[in-house]
């Protein structure tokens, strides 16, 4: 591995110096949200001390500054994911909002009675429930690609599911619970062979992998700012122009209109057609700062470092006798879910917290997946660019301690 300056990266994240119950914080709940570098924290203050104003409205100086900064972020996002056009980047409040937007707008336009939407058994609730709602509304059917015991998509079953009734495929790039890295290129290709568009939930991928929406040829790609070192309350929906143009607006209000008359309203063009109301301006602008931060290290360097760390963590944890991994796919990214045999994940989480180790426990908003594995939940450690082997060693010691207390 080339030089990766972990000490200077850690120094950029002030919260990592926190002590929890007298122990140094070991933050391994990055799948839930990542910590923010000082540059993002500063940018939030700078926004409010220097340019706070509403965007896309006023002719006055500050409004122009805020609008420019907001649009610079759109450009940065567009470059970061290699979109063909900046206006294919819709700023939303997060992945959930992005998926709901597609489910509603695309669903209204293209899904009819008897049609089908395909998702997978490892989806987050936010990539299940919006589709259930639109299917119910349209009289369509939700179909679920099964997974094997390792937590990998059953690609044969998937191929067999594709037919002319299927109007959209929506699956996750990286499973938030299992860490499975899905073969989305193949998923997209097979769907496109039958002219079916694909939405990829990139919430757990964008901060770990180089994403090129044109190379993937993906139709919709959704992700959140707060999981990629940016602020909460902002997210992205990338959509191909050819689809976004044909979709009706999701919400009505200011900014999304060109002309409003009581008889008829003319909608604004892309991307504003899908951005009704005042957005989270501060978060939007500071997401641009977060992308700058990622780029100073480079997403490919981050991916290499994290892959190495994931391997190290998997090996270290596997040396604990009672451990059982949930999600053992060949291709994985950033997430390790496990159970300490016989111990409830909640109990393990409580002990780990006492030792300063922050993990997520529970069903991770993937209840159907927990049912698939017949477990109440898991303990999930999820890594980010600032985690270290020492973090993993402390996790392993804490899990051993929990096992000795609970079993």
């Amino acid at each position: 591995m080339t030089h990766y300056d972990i000490d200077s990266i850690r120094a950029d994240f002030p919260i990592l110096k926190t002590k929890v119950n007298g122990h140094p914080l070991v933050y391994l709940d990055n799948g839930a949200t990542t910590q923010k570098p000082q540059s993002v924290i500063n940018a939030i203050t700078d926004y409010y001390t220097q340019i706070n104003s509403n965007v896309h409205r006023g002719v006055h100086h500050l409004s122009q500054l805020a609008t420019d900064a907001y649009e610079v972020t759109r450009k940065k996002i567009s470059e970061f994911i290699n979109a063909a056009h900046d206006y294919e980047v819709i700023l939303t409040s997060g992945t959930t909002h992005s998926i709901n937007l597609v489910a509603n707008s695309y669903g209204k336009q293209f899904v009819r009675e008897g049609d089908e939407i395909v998702i997978s058994a490892m989806e987050h609730h936010s990539n299940i429930v919006p589709w259930q709602m639109i299917c119910e509304d349209r009289g369509a059917k939700l179909r679920v690609i099964p997974i094997n015991d390792e937590g990998e998509l059953d690609m044969e079953a998937y191929a067999a599911m594709l037919n002319e009734r299927v109007k959209l495929v929506s699956i996750t790039y990286v499973s938030n619970t299992l860490g499975t890295l899905n073969p989305i290129k193949e998923v997209i290709k097979q769907a496109h062979d039958q002219d079916i568009p694909v939405l990829i939930d990139g919430a757990q991928a964008i901060q770990h992998l180089d994403v090129d929406v044109q190379a993937l040829d993906v139709d919709f790609f959704a992700f959140s700012g707060h999981k990629m070192y940016g602020p909460t309350g902002v997210g992205v929906l990338y959509g191909k122009e050819k689809w976004l143009d044909r979709m009706p607006p999701y919400q009505g209000g200011g900014d999304m209109i060109k002309e409003v008359r009581f008889e008829k309203t003319i909608y604004n063009e892309l991307p504003f057609k899908f951005e009704a109301g005042t957005p989270n301006i501060e978060a939007g602008i500071c997401l641009g700062t977060a992308i700058d931060y990622i780029k100073t290290t480079g997403i490919n360097q981050i991916a290499l470092y994290e892959t190495e760390l994931l391997k190290y963590a998997t090996k270290a944890l596997s040396e604990i006798d009672q451990i059982r991994f949930i999600g053992t796919a060949k291709e994985k990214s950033s997430v390790i879910s496990f159970l300490v045999n016989g111990a409830h994940p909640y109990d393990v989480g409580v002990i780990l917290d006492k030792l300063g180790v922050a993990v997520r426990t529970g069903h991770h908003c993937t209840q159907p997946l927990m049912e698939r594995f017949d477990i109440p939940g898991t303990v999930r450690a999820s890594i980010a660019m600032y985690n270290t082997k020492e973090d993993i060693d402390l996790l392993v010691n804490a899990v051993k301690k929990a096992a000795s207390m609970l079993l």
Partner: protein
């Protein structure tokens, strides 16, 4: 004469004051959780299940001579230990005393975080359910 709710709470607070650190405290709670099943298996049915986001609690109530007796269980040991403490305090008391009980001991023994509604371990819902039983039985009397 049996002890009142507050007498039991004060006794628990004193018991816990002997523990030197969190680990000793949790080891005791885990021990309570591991002890005999608190509920008849037949009562571990869905209608007696209180769903927390993370762990689950089953609660059964029975009235014997003006007093309410609770049995309960949980799938998580630490939750079960805490459930067991709640039962020590509230089981065998009169409906009106349960209804008006101020459960200060959890805070005093330093376990407040487990009673936070966001903790989602089913414990808050259980206490609420215990009080609801008491309200219902009190209304019947």
């Amino acid at each position: 004469m049996s002890m009142t709710i507050n007498e039991i709470q004060d006794e628990l607070i004193e018991d816990f004051s002997f523990f030197e650190d969190w680990m000793a405290k949790y080891e005791y709670i885990i021990q309570l959780g591991k002890e005999l099943p608190l509920i008849n298996e037949a009562y571990k049915t869905d209608d007696l299940l209180i769903k927390g986001c993370q762990s689950r609690v089953w609660l059964h109530a029975q009235e014997i001579e003006d007093k309410i007796f609770f049995t309960a269980d949980s799938d998580a040991i630490i939750t079960k230990g805490l459930v067991s403490l709640m039962i020590k305090v509230l089981s065998g008391q009169r409906a009106e005393d349960i209804m008006s009980a101020n459960l200060y001991f959890i805070d005093e023994i330093g376990l407040k975080e487990h009673l936070s509604p966001t903790r989602a371990n089913g414990l808050v819902a259980m206490v609420k359910q215990m009080k609801l039983y008491a309200v219902a039985l009190n209304a019947k009397q």
